[in-house]
Symmetry: C2
């Protein structure tokens, strides 16, 4: 409470603090602005790097999620892969043609089709992973493990918050 009041960015308005203006905060302290800047560049770089592997961002994300889960539905996949469902649906068509995934109706509920990665899909993802890891290391160059862990912890907190406050 006390530190919220005194803070230059996060202030307790209900506790009587005055709302700072954007000018007082500055864009450089407006975290969502910084994250948008970083992620626009990260996603563009990733997309470019994936081209050399004949892979798209949506395919890479789908394979990444599937390589970690036994089976998922297309709904879950589009949330985890941050990809619109229509795009994900086309992406899965293409991945199935390539033999990288399998879709099969769930025995208990034939309307649901579970998606699973194939051995070929795992190999395709493993081929792009070193590139992804290199980009991650470049992104966090000069950041210590402790700083990285603290950073990820805040990201978990804000991800929980933003799901809680869903409009």
């Amino acid at each position: 409470m006390g530190d919220r009041f005194a803070g230059t960015v996060l202030r307790d308005l209900d506790g009587g603090a005055a709302r700072p203006t954007l000018g007082e905060i500055g864009l450089a302290q407006f975290a969502p602005y910084l994250m948008n800047r970083v992620m626009a560049r990260w996603n563009a770089n990733m997309s470019e790097a994936l081209k050399q592997h004949d892979m798209t961002t949506a395919k890479m994300r789908a394979l990444a999620v599937l390589s970690l889960s036994s089976t998922v539905t297309i709904n879950e996949l589009s949330v985890y892969a941050v990809t619109e469902q229509s795009t994900m649906s086309r992406t899965l068509d293409s991945l199935e043609e390539q033999g990288y995934i399998r879709r099969q109706p769930r025995p208990e509920d034939m309307r649901v089709r579970d998606v699973a990665i194939t051995e070929e899909g795992r190999i395709a993802f493993e081929a792009v992973w070193p590139t992804m890891y290199e980009l991650l290391m470049q992104l966090f160059d000069g950041v210590s493990d402790d700083e990285y862990t603290a950073f990820a912890t805040i990201l978990h907190k804000v991800l929980r918050n933003i799901r809680k406050y869903e409009i």
Copy 2:
């Protein structure tokens, strides 16, 4: 160096550490994944909230940047506002029609047109700012000022890194 070697996420491959797999790291510790998840939701919520003010994300971002700078070019504006130049160009046309911005050729170089916010533009941005600030406070609910500052510091570092390693 030492902590890079031992780290579960960031490892010094040149120093002889083995590259971890995505399975070892886990999506929950892959920071760009978390940031994409957060920002997809943030941008969707923001876009929705701005509709009530008859405002788009691109317009809000342009007005935010212009409210903090004396004059900027469309190139600078599209970088700072994380908006493609063609979109930004149309956005400025619309903002000019609304009387929120002014464009004028630079006296020293008539090929460059500087963009500046008008008083009406400032008022329009001030009208949406409380909503933006509320979303920011919700996003960082439960995050202390010190944590926020540390978080922003890492974001500055990664933004510098990603510009340095530009493909």
